[in-house]
Assembly symmetry: C3
Homo-oligomer: 109 residues x 3
């Protein structure tokens, strides 16, 4: 038995819990905020058998890996909105920090 | 030293923390939501000595075990409320998922 | 690799995360409430290399140790506010409960 603790971005949270649920893994979601990261993040706890760890890691990697995304920038305050042509900007999104923790014993009541 | 992580239903949360407090165990409550379970759930962290684990498990079992409960159903939308006699319905409530985690060292400042 | 779980008072939370960030430690903050403690508290998770544990413990001790603080008491309800001279009262604030947890494996995606 292992407890997998995964810190991910909020925006990846629903997709990951859906994907884990499709693989029959139950998740518990903790409300978290990062120290650095100003954007909200989410911590998931997933209790699994030892032989399931690699599969769960695959699902996390597939759904939360850090990647580039083109986003429309906010138009500059006070600028001439009519003549302003927003250029999409590349930003890094996603990413997951994952701890696999040993579990001494596990119970369901 | 062990860290007990218990995921329980919100409705059992106050009763369990009161019962643990009666047994002189301090709890830290994390706001959580389940991936499957649509109802809110709560995660408690309880730091205990090795010899206290069984007692804490007993308290959790006594206060959070899955059980049947009779609830009055919602009356059907648009039905004839006067002639509608609600029949209590049996639902499963409660339940606890408990991880006993090894702790390498423990400090209080 | 270790996962340090620190339960501290809300009022020490920003100072501690700033201090840990100055030391280049990333923290994840969980919203928590204590079972006993009526005031809100905060749980931080900090993933570190084994050789960094003592440094992190030092930073927590420096920023969150239990200490006395003089606070202005609330003036008594219904008392004569004009003649009432509030005397500062000594209260205990701060404190940290810290678990150092073994980590079996660690991943970043
Ligand atoms: Ni798969
Ligand atoms: Ni007892
Ligand atoms: Ni230092």
């Amino acid at each position: 038995m292992k407890l997998i603790i995964a810190v991910i971005q909020d925006k990846d949270s629903n997709r990951l819990t859906d994907a884990l649920s499709d693989h029959n893994y139950k998740t518990t979601k903790l409300s978290t905020t990062g120290g650095f990261l100003k954007e909200g993040n989410t911590t998931l706890m997933i209790g699994v058998e030892d032989h399931q760890v690699d599969d769960v890691l695959d699902v996390i990697r597939d759904n939360c890996s850090q990647r580039d995304q083109m986003v429309a920038p906010i138009s500059p305050m006070g600028g001439n909105a009519d003549s302003y042509i927003p250029k999409p900007v590349k930003v890094e999104v996603g990413g997951a920090t994952v701890f696999v923790m040993p579990v001494e014993s596990f119970f369901q009541f």
